[in-house]
């Protein structure tokens, strides 16, 4: 596990939320396994992972909707939960804003009533409601009954409701998963703009890498109840620390091979599927020596297909095009390598390829990494 402390914004001044040694079990299954995390003031921190990795449970524990079996959560140095000290601040006393995956817009209220609710239950004036509705561009819909809203509008109302009490922490649980692609894109920009305006600290849970990459200052990739790697987007994409993160982030193709030469000038990997690949020395894991079995990993977008006679020789990785799918802006080709291994490679429009043709697979050497097998 690596503690990536890269932060491109100047907000690394203080920790707002700390989680120490968190454990949560459901019916004997450990869902969160000794999780530790510090969230910085003003950042957007994302919990990224596949379903069942414990990211939503972590968020619910931060919100106070679940109680952990061990560990503690501190906010501004004060205990929200501490199992050992038997402390628990109920969710309604934490002053958090949260947007649920389902948005949880109350259907028996109007837009205004929904957003005013947090103020009303605390006996505060509802003067800011119209202001916050303007911020999310829903001021024209204040009197709409909630069931008359579209998905994107519900999302905005949920965001306004979460922000109206001026929380110092905003929790977002898969906020875009129920929206279509175009809406997602525009709402991502909007969320980022609002977050910058208010300077609120955000913890986001998502399984969508694009959400995570576009929004986050830092991302924690979760697996089996703890963090696999915490880093910023670029760091995660270019320098994955574990095979899990390597395969989880982006589209990645791994090919089995043997490291035949290891040298400062450059190393060579002989692939099982045929062909030799020269790789830069810094792309090879430190522990590897010449003769070791390795996995060569390449980002799918760094691959290309070539029908050029000069490159289809014995030193190249060759295969036959089995199927070509038209994806609109590009083609996707399924290529069968020697030994029956199949890989999918993107090909730009205009490429003159036919099914059944023999091709060479080439890749940008800078994008190659060599891992222990």
């Amino acid at each position: 596990m690596s503690e990536g402390r890269v932060n491109d914004r100047a907000s690394v001044d203080s920790t707002i939320l700390s989680i120490n040694g968190l454990v949560k079990r459901f019916a004997g299954n450990t869902v969160i396994n000794n999780l530790n995390l510090d969230v910085q003031r003003g950042e957007i921190f994302t919990l990224l992972g596949a379903s069942g990795c414990g990211k939503s449970t972590t968020l619910r524990i931060i919100a106070g909707l679940e109680q952990p079996d061990a560990g503690e959560v501190l906010f501004e140095g004060q205990h929200w939960v501490s199992v050992s000290k038997q402390k628990f601040v109920p969710p309604n006393r934490r002053g958090i804003g949260m947007v649920f995956q389902s948005y949880a817009i109350w259907p028996h209220m109007t837009v205004f009533e929904n957003v005013a609710y947090p103020l009303r239950v605390q006996g505060k004036s509802t003067a800011q409601v119209s202001e916050i509705l303007k911020l999310v561009a829903m001021d024209a819909y204040a009197d709409r009954p909630a069931p008359a809203l579209s998905g994107g509008q519900q999302q905005r109302v949920a965001l306004a409701r979460a922000l109206v009490g001026e929380p110092s922490l905003l929790l977002l649980d898969e906020p875009f998963s129920n929206l279509d692609v175009h809406l997602r894109q525009s709402l991502r920009f909007e969320l980022k703009r609002i977050q910058r305006t208010l300077g609120v600290t955000v913890i986001l849970v998502t399984h969508d890498q694009l959400d995570a990459f576009t929004l986050s200052d830092r991302i924690g990739v979760m697996r089996a109840g703890c963090f696999e790697q915490i880093d910023n987007s670029v760091g995660l994409y270019d320098n994955p620390c574990t095979p899990f993160v390597r395969d989880f982030i982006g589209r990645n193709i791994t090919l089995d091979g043997v490291l035949t030469k290891r040298d400062v000038d450059g190393s060579v990997v002989q692939l099982v599927s045929g062909g030799c690949v020269d790789v830069p020395e810094d792309a090879v894991a430190n522990t590897l020596q010449a003769g070791d079995a390795v996995k060569l990993s390449v980002r799918a977008e760094s691959m290309a297909l070539s029908t050029d006679q000069r490159t289809t020789g014995a030193h190249e990785l060759c295969g036959l095009i089995d199927a070509i799918l038209f994806l609109g802006d590009r083609y996707e080709c399924e290529v069968v390598l020697k030994e029956g291994r199949r890989i999918n490679v993107n090909v730009p429009r205009g490429a003159q390829l036919v099914e059944g043709e023999k091709v060479a697979v080439t890749f940008n050497k800078e994008a190659v990494r060599v891992w222990p097998a």
Partner: protein, 566 residues
Amino acid sequence: MTKRMPNGLTLISLLVLVLLCLFAVYPLLLLVMGSIREGVPSAETAEFSLRAWKAVLSEPRILAALLNTVLLGLMYTAISLPISVMISWLIARTDVPAAPWLEFGFWVSFFLPSLSVVQGWILLLDPSFGLINQGLREMLNGASSLGPFNIYSFGGIIFAHLITTAISAKVMLMTPVFRMVDSSLEEASRISGDTAFQTVRRIFLPIVAPTIIVVTVLGIIRSLESFEIELVLGTPPRVDVYSTLLYRLVQNDPPDYSVASALGVAIMLLMAVLVWLQFRAVRKSGYQTVGGKAQSRLLQLGRWRWIAFAFVVAVLLLLTVVPLLFMVAGTLMTMYGFFDISNAWTLMHWHEVLGDRVFVGSLGNTLKLSLGAACFMMVVGFGMAYVVVRDKSRLATVVDLLSWVPFSMPGVLFSLAFLWMVLSTPMMSAFYGSTILLILAVGMTTLTVGVQVIKSALMQLSKDLEESSFLSGASLLQTMWRIAIPLTLQSILVAGLMGFVTAGRSIGQLALLTTSDNRPLAILQLEYMVEGRYEAAAVVGTVVVGVTVGVALISKCVGLKAGVRR
């Protein structure tokens, strides 16, 4: 966490648990204790004795009553079953006209006060003045002044059950399930060469057999509830069932509480066996008939369509309009059935009854009782449903389990258990004769069903809606009041309405708890009937129908119009 933090929900769970223990488990225990001791409930010390149990197992009168209970239940279940299956099939699977209205008719029939329906039929089938008997005697020119039918008989009791709830309850339960059967199963059979009739016999009935079994067992369980029909129709021919016998044992001078309690516990044991059978049947029935969104095409009946319609309408009329019409007619006749006398029609009985202080007091009691029971159902029912659905602790599991205790105690038995509680607990004796006691008795016995209604609404409510309220800073009570209650209001009101209607018509649960101070209309009607004052009883019965079913129908219409904004 090893140690749970105290929170509001735990407090509510505890309150509900205390309520259940106090008003369901405690009376039940007293009943069991009462069956193995001698003496009146208020006695300071009591001797242990097995006399009551020996009596239950050997005394011919008690054994005969138990036999009658079982025999009657089996017989009217056996008769009502084929009729109900056929009607349900017609409504659910064929193109019989106005099917939704026919189904609604059986709902109305189910909710009609049994006593009023029976009263209407008494006026038609009384051996001497019954209109049908008079008409038949005239046609046959018989010399006899009685008969040919006599509703005061074993057969009369069976008939009374058929026209009150034995058919309507089964139709109500079976029709929705029948509708779910995938019609492609039937179509496959038709394509294989079966006739429509063969298809019903070979495909449809085997598919719905589990449902029919469950409904049948449920019907037999409910037959143990019945009380007032047997009391009114069984007294002249001296046909007792266990519930009337139990009533008589307590009303006798001196009352025999021990034997009554032992008889009650024996019935509880029988009930337990039946409930177990029912659970087994439900489990076995699995999900094979309830196939989700199956497509259901209706069978074209052709020229049989209107004949089927006429048949169902005729049954419905016999269950609802006919008895009510003659009951109302009965209120307007000087002497019911005597058309020849001068002044055959009169408003005298209405003046008499409405002017009577007893009636006015009873009307007030019924209104207090009904409104009280409605409030009880809404408040306690919601609290209990909320605990069962939202509290994940063991406490809630116990609550869920205990909530079935009052449900499994037949009305008169519950009445007896409550009587034990009031008479033997010094602090509670002040409640004897109060309406609060009646509200509790009706409320507790109806609670289980009400909780199920609210529970199903709460379970459909996404937890997010409440959690986002907590995160907005609202407490548990604020969240219940502003989110959970408004969103399940329709079901809460339905539960309240059930409480209102049940309280207005219930007799069994109250039979041993009423005094002249807290007597509601339904009990007054029963007393008039037992005294033979049919015209006065008919007036009271008409008012009871108005108060219960009338209110239910009106609120259904109003509820539909106002709706709950969703």
